[in-house]
Amino acid sequence: MKPVSITAMALACLLGAAQVALANQITPISSRDWQQDQLVQYRWKADSVPPDWMQRAINGAAADSNRSRRSKAARLGQRDGSDSWVAYAAELPTTAAIAYASRNAPETFKVWLRTHGHVFDWGVLRWCQFFDSAPNGCFDARTAALHEFGHVQGLGHTSVGPPDSIMYTTSLQKPKAGYDQRDFGACDVAALQTRYELLTASTAVSTCLSLGTSLSFAASATSFVTGGSVTFTAGLKIADGVAHTRLAGDPLSGRTVLLQRRPVGGTTWTTHGQMQTAAAEGSYRLAVSPDGTYEWRAFFAAPANEGLKGSGSAVIRVTRQTGSGSCQSGCVS
């Protein structure tokens, strides 16, 4: 595998650091949780069944929530007879909203979407999905429903606008940027991940976070004879000391973990190759046939597309045995 220059990795680190700018603006989230991956289903409220176009928007939003949660937040789906419900109604618990949510996790939730044509002080509510060709000034019902499902998940409002959050205080009207956003924003996902953990060990950590990582590192042998091979293994996880304790220690799979070496006593690391994902979550391995004695480490550069900090492992010296002397403990050939 072609070695990668340290300069490139330093640049990657800098790019990773740039992501930190979003940190600390994580969407607020309630402490009252659903269970991890809990399937929460809703029905249409009997006397307030949404019209077809609104049902499609709501079910689309549930799918958007499931797809973009990137965490073990609740999974949503529509099923007749469920305890939770969604209503299409002129009257909501508040007079000042186009849609509304009430949650009683981990039991039930209620969501209301206001009727198309309802009149507020400022004017008439128009849902874009009502039209074949949506006019400017309409609200996207699917985005509004996703916003309400965000409340169902426990998310509160934030001053961070789209695309970083769909929980922006004010619903946006066409054609403002983000009026029809289909995914939770990075800072929404950050909140869900800190509350519910990553969906899988391979799930990308939100760029709205900036989590430390740690790398464990081991070698199958610390000395070898010429022609022999050594297998290095590494374990990448979220650092134990991160503030978001629910994520602390969680393994990270599918990342780029590099095996690096330097001459004994040297200061410059050279990448020998990328370690391959092993079977266990967060594990990586690479077998090499060293051509000399080196110090080795595993290295994880802060990725540009994730809210993770880089880390390097402890250093292991692997020595080439010279001459015909008997192989000592840990030798491979």
Partner: protein, 317 residues
């Protein structure tokens, strides 16, 4: 009942109004047509789609004496949205069953208002054919439906004074539907004056979604709550005309005692914190966390009946 001590929720920043105390500008009633005096309590034809015609002799829709707070026994009233087959709200329908057993159905525009039954009648308002609004009264006794007055602006809500029968009317103005303030109209005296100036939202408040009028328990102080998408501003009009503005962030209005304004926290859905805002200082404290519904009772010492995930219970404001 919750036992933990209330916590401080918000302290106004030094140098800011905590709440601002503003004198209501007693403006001339520029938006009120003086039609009002002439048509007050007069009979007028029912709007299209309204209930059965009534004879003028029956149709004196005056409020019953004070103490008749909620209408007559045996009556009922519902307001429902009227939807097209595609689910568009194309109007509203006011259904009333009178004490005499008559069922009345009144077709309303979507941009309309229906008040709570009071004094044996229901006040409602809707757009008039001239582009303004008309305020009407429907008797829960006879079913009589009379036009009280017509205004040039769009009437969003009406509240009757329990003290003298004056109507406090909130309007929006012009094509942009800016807040038009609250005008007090005294049909008996033939007078009209703006008692609460138009609400001018701060830049970060956004547009006004809804405005609610409500009386304090004493029936003397009028609460005018203007709500945007994120939070509300509540203005209290004292009997002497003083206007207090409470812009401590809060949400939906619950009630008003002599000392406190009860409201939900700025609305992020429910459950939400329930706040008691000191009427003198504007400082809010949390009365209860995670409240779904709240109702203020002022029949005796003020108390709050709240619904939380733990069930329904009573707390003191």
């Amino acid at each position: 009942m919750r036992s933990r001590a209330p916590k401080e929720h918000h302290i106004p920043r030094p140098g800011t109004r905590p709440p601002a105390i503003l004198l209501a500008r007693r403006l001339g009633p520029t938006t009120v047509l003086l039609l009002m005096a002439a048509v007050a309590f007069a009979v007028s034809p029912l709007p299209s789609g309204a209930g059965p015609a009534v004879t003028p002799a029956d149709c004196l829709v005056v409020a019953s004496p004070s103490g008749e707070e909620h209408g007559f026994a045996g009556t009922s009233m519902t307001v429902e949205a009227v939807l097209s087959r595609r689910g568009e709200q194309i109007g509203r329908r006011l259904e009333v069953r009178t004490q005499r057993g008559t069922s009345i159905s009144v077709a309303l525009a979507s941009d309309s208002f229906v008040g709570e039954p009071r004094g044996g009648r229901v006040l409602y308002a809707q757009r008039s054919p001239t582009g303004g609004s008309e305020i009407r009264a429907l008797s829960l006794d006879s079913g009589c439906n009379a036009r009280l007055m017509e205004l040039q602006d769009v009437v969003r809500s009406v509240l009757e004074s329990p003290a003298d029968g004056s109507l406090f009317v909130h309007t929006v103005v012009g094509a942009e539907r800016h807040d038009g303030g609250v005008t007090r109209i005294n049909p008996a005296a033939g007078s009209a004056e703006q008692v609460v100036p138009p609400f001018v939202p701060a830049a970060d408040f956004g547009r006004v979604y809804a405005t609610q009028l409500a009386w304090a328990a004493d029936g003397q102080t009028l609460a005018v709550q203007s709500c945007g998408a994120e939070s509300c501003v509540t203005r209290l009009l004292a009997p002497d005309g003083n206007l207090l503005t409470y812009d401590t962030p809060h949400g939906a209005y619950v009630g008003l005692t002599d000392d406190t304004l009860i409201a939900f926290a700025a609305d992020h859905g429910r459950p939400a914190e329930l706040l008691a805002i000191d009427r003198r200082t504007g400082i809010a404290r949390v009365v209860a966390d995670e409240v779904f519904e709240a109702e203020l009772s002022t029949a005796g010492p003020p108390s709050l009946l709240i619904e939380t995930p733990a069930g329904r219970h009573e707390v003191l404001p």
